[in-house]
């Protein structure tokens, strides 16, 4: 929707300062960048990853002693949604070879490979099959397919991008399998952008030494998801999909092998028990925890379920303190809130401005510094612009680009963004964009090795749910590759494990009892219940009107 009259009034302040700012830019003068000390200061005060406030050190489990964002720590230090001692584990509802938890790109690829390996498979997924972050990835998928490139350089770019904090066997697996993933997707009939002779079109991305980003229009993830989901549907004799039935707890056997999970049918509220010889976690990231209240690019169900369940089963995680924020997510219009606006806009000279149309930061600081400066201006100084829906943002003065580079340059340089805003009645060559940092990607996750195995026999994990592939910073196009590479490896290895002969010796939830005892012993006060499955967007007013205090416990039809 177009800017409201009130917002248009505020835009006049931006227009008032623009001539002087454009003149300044023409003189190659910039708002001064921060010194290294100032950077450290603003980061520690305002960047969620660097702030010391709002953090919590977990007192239990495999990562005991590690510090996380409070919201993440609360998930790790949470109780199960079922009482383990009240569950009859003799009543098995489904029996299968491989249980895949999560129906996004990683889980779906894993299911196909496990079926190829001769296994019966169940996919249990929280929403519809395919509802995932995979489907939202636009840009592309990295793979060293061209002659001037090789897995060697893909490895190097990936580990350099991650500040050398990546887990190396995972990076090697990613670099080696990437071209195999592309060939596999092509054989399933995925449409890649290609030249006439069939060669894939490749582009550079931030941090790449070779053009390696293959794509499918500007909806690469959606195309991947459509194709792998369709392939699963062709195999209904081997793969059963249970939608709206997320796993809420893993099952271990008497020997500590993973042997299934408890599912929760969110429509009928029933629980069911799946006995499986192997289990694969492909549950994605945690954007919908809205760490520190940030908007997110993630899909509705991204609530860290797999990491939570694995933690209780004794599987730790790495790099989970690190979250990718993008400084310029959309703050208005509502339809686009949280979605990304490329750095290119600032690269082309657009200033970032407060409610008075004043600059307050150098527009091309590193991403984390830029995010922190925006947060400071809006939340500490109170100089943000409040939208009609109570969202806060700062101006990104895109019309400057027209003045600096000539009329028509916004549309020419930013065609997709131009259309995206034009559709909602905003001409970004004439009016500024309203932006605010947004939560994009869970850099860390469950510990696995290069074969997608966790430390629990029979338990595998893949995709955004795992940690270490990207270290503390992920390159564009490596997330889709992570999903396919490790999804395929998990499926293949789980099938081989099952075919090697697995004997399950008694289903058990003792690990949950033990974990909850640890919580109690550690004195964790009022632990939450997780996985939370879905975020709750009820307004405070609505919550009050539901009379939480006055309502009788057990009231019918509530």
């Amino acid at each position: 929707m177009a800017y409201t009259p009130e917002m248009k009034e505020l835009i006049k302040r931006v227009e008032a300062t623009r001539p002087e700012r454009v003149a300044m830019a023409r003189r190659n003068e910039n708002y001064p960048a921060l010194s290294m000390d100032e950077r450290a200061d603003v980061l520690s005060k305002f960047h969620p990853d660097y702030q010391t406030t709002g953090k919590k050190t977990v007192a239990v489990g495999p990562n005991k002693g590690d510090t996380f964002q409070e919201g993440v720590a609360r998930m790790l230090e949470s109780k199960s949604m079922i009482r383990p001692d009240k569950v009859d584990l003799n009543k098995i509802d489904h029996e299968t070879d491989v249980l895949v938890i999560g129906g996004g790109g990683a889980g779906t690829s894993a299911a196909i490979m496990a079926a190829d390996g001769g296994c019966k498979v169940i996919i249990a997924t929280k929403l519809r099959h395919g509802d995932s972050n995979t489907i939202m990835a636009e840009g592309g998928i990295q793979a060293a397919t061209h002659e001037c490139d090789s897995p060697y350089y893909h490895f190097m770019d990936t580990i350099g991008g991650g500040h050398f904090s990546n887990q190396r066997d995972l990076v090697a697996a990613l670099a080696k399998d990437a071209p195999l993933s592309i060939a596999w997707l092509e054989s399933l009939g995925m449409l890649f952008n290609k030249y006439e002779d069939g060669r894939t079109v490749v582009r550079h991305c931030g941090g790449s030494s070779r053009k390696r980003l293959q794509s499918s229009g500007d909806m690469t993830g959606a195309e991947i998801m459509r194709v792998v989901r369709d392939e699963v549907r062709n195999r209904e004799d081997q793969i059963t999909v249970l939608e709206f039935s997320p796993a809420v707890e893993l099952l271990l056997d008497d020997e500590g092998k993973c042997c299934g999970a408890i599912l929760h049918n969110m429509e009928t509220k029933e629980f069911s028990i799946v006995k499986a010889k192997a289990v694969i976690i492909g549950t994605g990231g945690f954007g919908r925890l809205h760490i520190k209240g940030f908007a997110t690019t993630n899909h509705y169900g991204a609530t860290m379920d797999g990491v939570v369940m694995a933690y209780r089963a004794g599987v730790g995680n790495k790099s989970l303190h690190s979250t990718q924020y993008h400084p310029t997510g959309v703050a208005y219009p509502e339809q686009n809130v949280g979605l990304l606006i490329t750095e290119k806009v600032r690269g082309l000279g657009a200033h970032v401005l407060n409610i008075d149309g004043e600059q307050f930061c150098f527009p091309l600081e590193p991403r984390d510094v830029e995010s922190a400066e925006l947060i400071c201006e809006a939340m500490e100084k109170g100089k943000g612009i409040i939208t009609p829906t109570g969202r806060v943002g700062l101006w990104l003065d895109s019309p400057m680009i027209e003045e600096l580079h000539g009329p028509g340059s916004v549309k020419k340089e930013l065609p997709a963004k131009f259309i995206q805003f034009e559709r909602h009645g905003i001409d970004i060559s004439k009016e500024p964009m309203l932006v605010y940092p947004t939560l994009h990607y869970q850099n860390g996750g469950v510990n696995v090795n290069g074969e997608s195995e966790t430390c629990v026999p029979g338990l595998y994990a893949a995709g955004e749910a795992i940690g270490g592939v990207h270290g503390e910073n992920r390159l564009m196009g490596n997330s889709l590759q992570d999903i396919i590479t490790f999804g395929r490896r998990a499926g293949k290895n789980a099938a081989a494990y099952v075919q090697g002969g697995v004997e399950i010796k008694g289903l058990s939830l003792d690990h949950v009892l033990k974990f909850e005892k640890e919580l109690e012993d550690a004195g964790v006060e009022e632990p939450g219940v997780a996985p939370i499955l879905l975020p709750d967007y009820s307004t405070d007013e609505m919550t009050e009107r539901r009379w939480p205090e006055a309502l009788t416990k057990g009231a019918p039809a509530v």
Partner: protein, 265 residues
């Protein structure tokens, strides 16, 4: 469980967090009719967030919340007007006196096939979806499409045996099912389109020959030692070769550029 406490100074405004909307002082509300019942919601919200503001909590009818997953197809009309409109709840802004309902699921037949055996001829598609020929060209499918896909165009192309055209015309399909919900011929358009795209990608679009060579090299173990070398390298050495690595020029024509160092290709 969403974190909302972010007060850092006396200037800190009360703002919406996550996807939860709030009604700032002085903001306007408008009436909308959700399944016939009136609710007052802030203007400029999407239908999805307006329903959440009104107190609904989604299980079905919400997915990516970014216009690409097809979970939230919605039908609506404006007071006093017979005309039906179609859109995605996450991409359509509420207007005053809008009457709306979601159609989160619509039944549609899907035919199984084997991608390795189906081949690239249109007859195979016709055999799996004979109902394609029940199309009466009413164009309701196209009118209902929230992605502006020319649905009738690709159905017609499929009937004529033009798989390439059907694949290209249907590329933006998000499989929300609104087309099928409006179809007089009871055609599952989006499933037929998915089949057409996969057949086109597998059998008609030329396969990537350079990729075959790379796959063979990887499977022969050509890169295993190189990757092991990198895995074992000290951080200092890795940093050194990382910084010194050659970068393919931005404007080099594809296939024309060769690095000086070719040992690791």
């Amino acid at each position: 469980m969403c974190e909302t406490d972010q007060k850092s100074s006396k200037n800190t405004p009360r703002v919406a967090t996550g996807d939860r909307a709030i009604l700032p002082e002085g903001a306007k509300t408008i009436p909308v009719y959700i399944m016939g019942k009136m609710y007052e919601v802030p203007e400029t919200l999407t239908i999805m967030k307006a329903m959440e503001f009104a107190g609904f909590r989604f299980l079905r009818g919400a997915g990516c919340r970014g216009g690409i997953c097809g979970a939230c197809p919605t039908v609506y009309r404006m007071a006093g007007d017979y005309k039906l409109h179609f859109g995605l709840a996450c991409q359509t802004v509420v207007e005053a006196d809008m009457y709306l309902a979601q159609i989160p699921f619509f039944p549609a037949n899907r035919a199984n096939f084997n991608i390795d055996e189906i081949g690239g001829l249109p007859e195979a598609i016709h055999a799996l979806y004979p109902e394609l020929f029940r199309c009466v060209a009413c164009n309701q499918c196209t009118k209902a499409c929230p992605m502006d896909v020319d649905v009738l165009g690709y159905i017609s192309a499929l009937k004529q045996g033009n798989i390439e055209k059907a694949a290209k015309l249907s590329f933006d399909c998000i499989q929300c099912g609104l087309c099928a919900s409006r179809c007089m011929g009871e055609i599952p358009q989006y499933h037929a389109a998915q089949l057409a795209r996969r057949v086109y990608g597998r059998y008609i679009l030329p396969l990537a020959e350079h990729l075959k060579a790379r796959v063979a090299a990887i499977e022969s173990g050509k890169y295993d030692e190189m990757l092991e070398e990198l895995e074992a390298m000290s951080k200092e050495d890795l940093e050194k070769i990382y910084v010194e690595r050659e970068r393919e020029p931005d404007f080099a024509e594809i296939g024309s550029w060769q690095p000086k160092e070719t040992r690791y290709l």
